[in-house]
């Protein structure tokens, strides 16, 4: 009964509107185990969810960033490929600009078809006729974020006839300013000149002797914008066509447009001549010839199947390898004819001798580079034609004797090696076969550093 009385009493009190807050006092008397347990459990679950959500979100962000970077890079690559396509297309603006000294063209796809979040912008900037740097920026958007990746690729195309020179350097794309580099090398050139559209760079006691700078005084075959060298280097031009045996010491007077010759007196400075484009060569002819004689290989592994390590072999005619070819593991190869590759040819550790074949041509022809490594030995009679660069590395064991000449965008004698080049214009012209269209090639690849 007493309880009922209390109940009534409390009910009465509680019914007073201004005392509703006192309800809590009532509930205090009840046991709240359930709510406490539920709160604890909820707290645990919330904490666990928070941790999981943090980890999950972190992973998700990383995955998104990785995907965005990867897609942006692929889009930039796509931009480069489209640029090459446009440059090849005969009636395009890009093709027209590509032929100019300072040509420039640009195009944008933002967004690209089928990918609303991504696109690319491409600039094609020439550093000379038919030599350009493609700068492609891929963009990928995720929400408010934009991811960018930039790629630079040098592209070039041969466009001219052979203009002379035992070493010809037409100039590479991009940041390079010197096209003929002689570092510590001892290079003697007989019966011919050197020709470069840009600088010659001598370093580390390089010794360059050039006999017969040009054969026709009205059409000098040597063009040097500037010569740079340090103490101990020397460069001589010996002109057999003048009345005097003229020893011209090339000096860098700070003027990149002037070539000076110092005593002995009587030496006439070589006049500047116009720049020349990279000579064309008929790659397709050699590819067809190689196929016809069953000497076309899909890659170097296919070629090396019958040319094991530590062996010597002699080939005739034309060999064409898709991709790059490296003579390594003491392979000793004699090529009576032309050895061609759509990539690079290198001699890492081995020997390569080229010689005139029965077809009347001989040489090394690559759409990229020709590298003679420190343990590589190269000699012979023929043309060395590389769409990008020729690099002759140091060697105290091997010298290099070449009857013919080098046609390359850039040639680099990177250290001491005794080199003798005797110009043979006949073998060069016969091997160039000035009739084909030399493909547009990618010279080098550049992407941002971290």
């Amino acid at each position: 009964m007493r309880i009922n009385t209390n109940y009534k009493k409390y009910t009465k009190i509680l019914n007073r509107p201004f005392l509703y807050f006192r309800k809590s006092f009532v509930f205090r008397t009840q046991h709240g185990y359930v709510i406490i347990v539920v709160l604890i459990l909820m707290l645990v679950l919330v904490a666990a969810s928070y941790f999981y959500a943090g980890a999950l979100l972190g992973e998700l962000t990383i995955a998104r960033n990785n995907k965005a970077a990867s897609v942006a890079f692929s889009l930039a690559e796509a931009g480069v490929q489209e640029a090459i396509y446009r440059v090849k297309k005969s009636d395009s603006i890009e093709r027209m600009q590509f032929a100019l000294q300072n040509g420039f063209s640009t195009f944008t796809h933002d967004p690209v078809p089928f990918l609303t979040q991504g696109g690319y912008t491409v600039n094609i900037q020439n550093s000379g006729p038919y030599v350009a740097t493609v700068i492609s920026t891929g963009i990928y958007k995720t929400g408010s974020r934009t991811t960018k990746r930039e790629i630079h690729v040098g592209i070039a195309e041969a466009s001219s006839s052979y203009g002379g020179g035992a070493i010809f350097g037409s100039g590479g794309a991009g940041e390079s300013i010197a096209d003929l580099d002689f570092w510590a090398a001892a290079v003697n050139i007989f019966k011919g000149s050197i020709f470069t559209n840009r600088d010659i760079n001598l370093k580390f006691g390089a010794n360059l002797n050039i006999e017969s700078a040009y054969t026709d005084p009205l059409n000098p075959k040597i063009r040097i914008d500037a010569v740079k060298y340090g103490p101990g280097d020397s460069a001589k031009v010996i002109n057999q066509n003048s009345d005097l045996d003229c020893n011209c010491l090339i000096e860098d007077d700070g003027d990149e447009e002037t070539l000076q010759c110092d005593p002995p007196p009587g030496c006439t400075p070589t006049k500047l001549v116009s720049s020349l484009g990279m000579p064309q060569i008929n790659f397709d002819y050699y590819k067809t010839e190689a196929s016809f004689h069953s000497q076309y290989y899909k890659d170097q592994n296919a070629f090396k199947i019958d040319f094991p390590k530590n062996s010597s072999k002699t080939y005739e005619g034309v060999i064409y390898v898709d991709g790059s070819l490296d003579l390594d593991y003491d392979r000793n190869m004699t090529m009576k004819g032309v050895l061609a590759a759509s990539g690079s040819i290198s001699i890492t550790k081995g020997q390569l001798t080229i010689d005139l074949g029965t077809d009347g041509f001989a040489g090394i022809i690559t759409q990229r580079d020709f590298i003679v490594g420190s343990e590589g030995n190269f000699n012979g009679h023929g043309l060395v034609y590389t769409s990008d660069r020729t690099e002759i590395d140091s060697s105290t064991n091997y010298s290099m004797n070449l009857l013919g000449g080098i046609v390359s965008r850039r040639t680099w004698f990177s250290g001491y090696r005794s080199v003798q080049i005797t110009l043979d214009p006949a073998i060069m012209n016969d091997t160039l076969k000035d009739s084909g269209t030399t493909p547009v090639i990618e010279i080098n690849h550049w992407e941002e550093e971290y």
Partner: protein, 198 residues
């Protein structure tokens, strides 16, 4: 007084024991759940960190190698006897005439850390002229090779918890990497083609 106490509500011993027992079970279950969640979180975080380390290491090496000019380390053709250090010429200065500096990047493993070291070669008397590692100056018995120089601050740890690193392959370079943290071990492998490698 006696009546007063008798009229007040109370719990029996059984009730208290039951409640305490149940409370303990519930709290223990809650703690166990929390503990398991926390352990699981820690494990997945550690796992994520390890895989992320490996991912960074691979991405970093891939990007550098893709641009390399020359691979200096002689790599075996097959994974039978892989090497654990890779040195190559950095491809951001492609040509000496460009005014750039020829420098080399070496990836190696030390104390479970992936190191990226930048070095260069030069002759002592002209140390500002950086040359190829293979450059020879002079001829015959008077020839000399350049010396490798590097600044200790250019030897930087790029990823941790990398327990094994292997390279092999002649044209396409294979990278095999193992990342471990306690019982968590992950193996990664990728292939890279040097765009500027000849």
């Amino acid at each position: 007084m006696k009546k007063k106490f008798q009229s007040q509500k109370s719990f029996t011993l059984i009730e208290i024991l039951t409640v305490v027992f149940l409370s303990v079970i519930i709290v223990a279950a809650g703690y166990y759940l929390y503990s398991m969640s926390y352990q699981s979180f820690k494990k997945s975080s550690a796992s994520a960190e390890v895989t992320q380390n490996a991912r960074i290491a691979l991405e970093r090496m891939t990007r550098d190698i893709r641009q390399a000019v020359e691979i200096v380390t002689v790599l075996p053709e097959t994974p039978d006897s892989p090497v654990s250090e890779l040195k190559f010429q950095d491809g951001h200065n492609l040509w000496p005439g460009g005014g750039g500096k020829i420098q080399y990047i070496t990836y190696s493993l030390s104390d479970n850390n992936l190191h990226r070291k930048i070095s260069h070669y030069a002759f002592y008397d002209v140390q500002d002229d950086w040359v190829l590692w293979s450059t020879i100056r002079g001829s015959g018995s008077h020839h000399e090779h350049p010396t490798e120089f590097f600044n200790p601050s250019d030897d930087v740890i790029k990823a941790e918890k990398i327990t094994a690193l292997h390279f092999w392959g002649e044209n396409v370079i294979n990278i095999n990497l193992t990342a471990s943290d306690g019982p968590n071990t992950y193996h990664f492998e990728t292939k890279v083609l040097g765009r500027n490698v000849q």
